[in-house]
């Protein structure tokens, strides 16, 4: 087990700059998830840590070892691949023992370690089977077992659940979480699925265009997104954004005007911004309340989705063409075609400036 320290990491493929001056610290025993849209560099970053790609510039340390030029087997990392990549002609036992054999481990220790890994992953019954005789979830566990068998310092996962169907994905997600509690080893996990990120991570790293957009606990990312991108990426359904104009304010709060909602007094620190500045106001669907339409504050309901335990109400926006979403517990008294007023929970409103940075709420912001 080890902590991972990345400093000023760069990766260039030909003329494409994939990873740009990236710094990151992963603590010993932490479960870190890289998320981001496709093309953000999250998989490349994982492969750089694995040693499958080399860094163009920068330094990478595992514990106190500089690993920049070490091949994967000398780094002490194990990796679980998206397609599992099990050796089709080997049994489960042989799959897990292959790396140990290549490391010239003696036969007894190999057996001991494979059996121990199999016990943890409940694979004992399957050891003599070939991969094609296994179900998707079982293959997934074997892939993890193979990565774990050599007792790597760091376990890497490259979108390991994306080949499973929805219900199995939830089950495996749980198993991975429990595995982490039990082993306590450092794990780095790549996914594009924000639900996986939220449920598994101690720490989420949101990547965008080869740079870190924000690092933090799931809670921090959800409640205090540092940028509009993070605010929009984390949370489902996504946050509602509306244009807003700064009317005035200081270090203790501000007033903004938003089409439809009118004037709002918010706790955000607006010092340094001049009145008239273009802002973006963000509210999560559950932080909106619907009321009877009232003057300007009237939005038409264009669709109502009933999900059993909750209801999504879609509203025609005053600007742009992304529908606004309201989420509440079922049942809902609102119906299609109605015109309603939107009342945001002032404590839960986010403001983003023209560069998409979030405006801090009196000192509370620094924690992010």
């Amino acid at each position: 087990m080890a902590n991972v320290n990345l400093s000023k990491i760069n990766k260039v493929f030909g003329s494409t700059h994939i990873i740009k001056d990236l710094d990151l610290e992963v603590g010993d025993g932490e479960f870190v998830v890289f998320v981001g849209p496709s093309g953000c560099g999250k998989s490349t970053l994982l492969r750089l840590i694995a040693g499958l790609e080399s860094i163009t510039d920068g330094d990478m340390h595992f514990a106190d070892d500089l690993v920049n030029d070490l091949p994967p087997r000398e780094r002490g990392v194990g990796m679980v691949f998206q397609s599992y990549a099990l050796y089709p002609h080997m049994t489960v036992y042989e799959n897990m023992a292959f790396g140990l054999k290549l490391a010239k481990t003696d036969k007894q220790s190999i057996e001991q370690r494979v059996m121990e890994t199999a016990r943890i992953l409940q694979l004992e019954e399957l050891l003599q089977r070939k991969p094609k005789e296994l179900s998707g979830g079982q293959r997934q566990r074997v892939a993890m077992g193979r990565a774990m068998a050599r007792e790597p310092r760091i376990l890497l996962f490259d979108e390991p659940l994306s080949n499973l169907d929805a219900s199995l994905r939830v089950q495996m997600r749980n198993e991975i979480a429990r595995l982490h509690h039990r082993l306590g080893s450092t794990m780095i996990y790549v996914t594009h699925d924000q639900v996986e990120a939220m449920t598994l991570a101690d720490k989420i790293v949101v990547l965008r265009d080869g740079r870190i957009e924000q690092v933090g606990s799931p809670q921090t990312l959800y409640q205090q997104p540092a940028t509009k991108f993070v605010a929009g990426f984390i949370g489902s359904p996504t946050m509602n954004f509306m244009p807003a104009e700064l009317l005035g304010g200081d270090g203790n709060g501000c007033r903004v005007s938003t089409p439809g909602l009118g004037e709002l007094a918010l706790p955000q620190d607006a010092s340094g911004k001049s009145p008239g500045a273009e802002l973006s106001l963000g509210v999560r669907p559950e932080h909106l309340r619907l009321a009877e339409a009232e003057g300007e504050n009237a939005f038409e309901i264009v669709n109502v989705e009933y999900l059993g335990n909750e209801v999504y109400v879609y509203l025609e926006p005053k600007a742009g063409d992304t529908l606004l979403i309201h989420r509440s517990e079922a049942p809902s008294r609102w119906h299609l075609g109605q015109r309603v007023a939107l009342v945001p929970d002032i404590e839960q409103v986010h403001l983003f400036d023209a560069t998409d940075k979030a405006l801090a709420v009196n000192g509370a912001k620094a924690a992010a």
Binding site: R73, F81, S83, A85, L86, F98, G99, L102, A103
Partner: protein, 280 residues
């Protein structure tokens, strides 16, 4: 029956007639060779479409000749050795060409392809000299060496297309497990390549078994010849006195194993041929 049904029926008849014609066209020459080989020499010159009686005299005659048995032995030795060498060199080369990006890869691919296009006669004099220098003239060794000129490029080409189809993540998993390229080939890829190897090996075997020009030129004595040369050189007093019975018996003898192989592995052969050509 209305017009539509009539047209449909006519189409069916036409299709089956065409199938019948093709079947006869494909099979009849071989069938006729079998019939001829099973006739007693007295009935040889009378045209029959089927056999009234079976006579193994022609077979007895060719198998009583040591040179024919030696020729079969030589053909087997040469073909199997060639397949073995081509696969050995081909698997490692195809890993390099199919899975590693490096400067000069395209050039090597073009060289391999170019060699497979060589007219054999263009290297005949130079190869003759090489074989004589290596003291391999009039021996199976000379044929084994010279046959690599057409089996090796072909093997490399087909195996490369198969190698490319193996998933990248499998190789990366092996790298994570600490496997060197050699271990990756022998422990991970080779067990998965057996179908491809069997196909390629079979095609190389057929090519080597059937080769004629080199075998004719680089051997001198009866005991060193391969079967195709032995058959081509069976002769009688003159063109009109060729011993057709024994020739047909010998022809059937060397063809039957191939036909059986083709029947068994037809799916494999088709995939191998098209992998070599369509993707080339």
């Amino acid at each position: 029956m209305n017009r539509y049904q009539q047209i449909k029926l006519a189409k069916q008849i036409g299709k089956w007639a065409l199938i019948a014609v093709i079947m006869v066209y494909a099979i009849f020459p071989f069938y006729y060779a079998v019939i001829t080989s099973l006739k007693p020499s007295s009935e040889l010159f009378q045209v029959d479409f089927w056999l009234s009686s079976v006579d193994f005299g022609n077979y007895a005659q060719i198998f009583s000749q040591d040179s024919f048995i030696q020729a079969i032995g030589n053909s087997i030795l040469v073909a199997i050795s060639v397949v073995f060498i081509a696969l050995l060199l081909g698997v490692t080369a195809s890993y390099a060409l199919g899975r590693v990006r490096f400067r000069g890869r395209t050039t090597v691919m073009l060289v391999v392809l170019g060699v497979s296009m060589f007219p054999q006669v263009a290297v005949l004099s130079g190869l003759f000299e090489v074989i004589r220098t290596l003291n391999l003239y009039n021996s199976p060794g000379g044929l084994i060496l010279s046959y690599t000129i057409f089996t090796l490029p072909f093997t490399v080409w087909v195996l490369t297309t198969f190698m490319r189809q193996l998933p990248m993540e499998l190789e990366e998993a092996a790298i994570m497990d600490g496997a060197t390229p050699w271990v990756t080939i022998t422990k991970v890829f080779l067990p998965l390549m057996w179908p491809a190897m069997a196909t390629t090996g079979l095609l190389a075997f057929i090519a080597a078994w059937n080769e004629f020009l080199f075998a004719l030129t680089f051997t001198l004595t009866d005991s060193q010849r391969t079967v195709p040369v032995a058959i081509a050189l069976i002769s009688g007093g003159s063109q009109h006195e060729l011993p057709w019975g024994p020739i047909m018996a010998a022809s059937v003898t060397v063809t039957v194993p191939l036909v059986i192989l083709v029947m068994i592995f037809q799916r494999r052969i088709v995939s191998g041929l098209t992998a070599g050509a369509v993707k080339g």
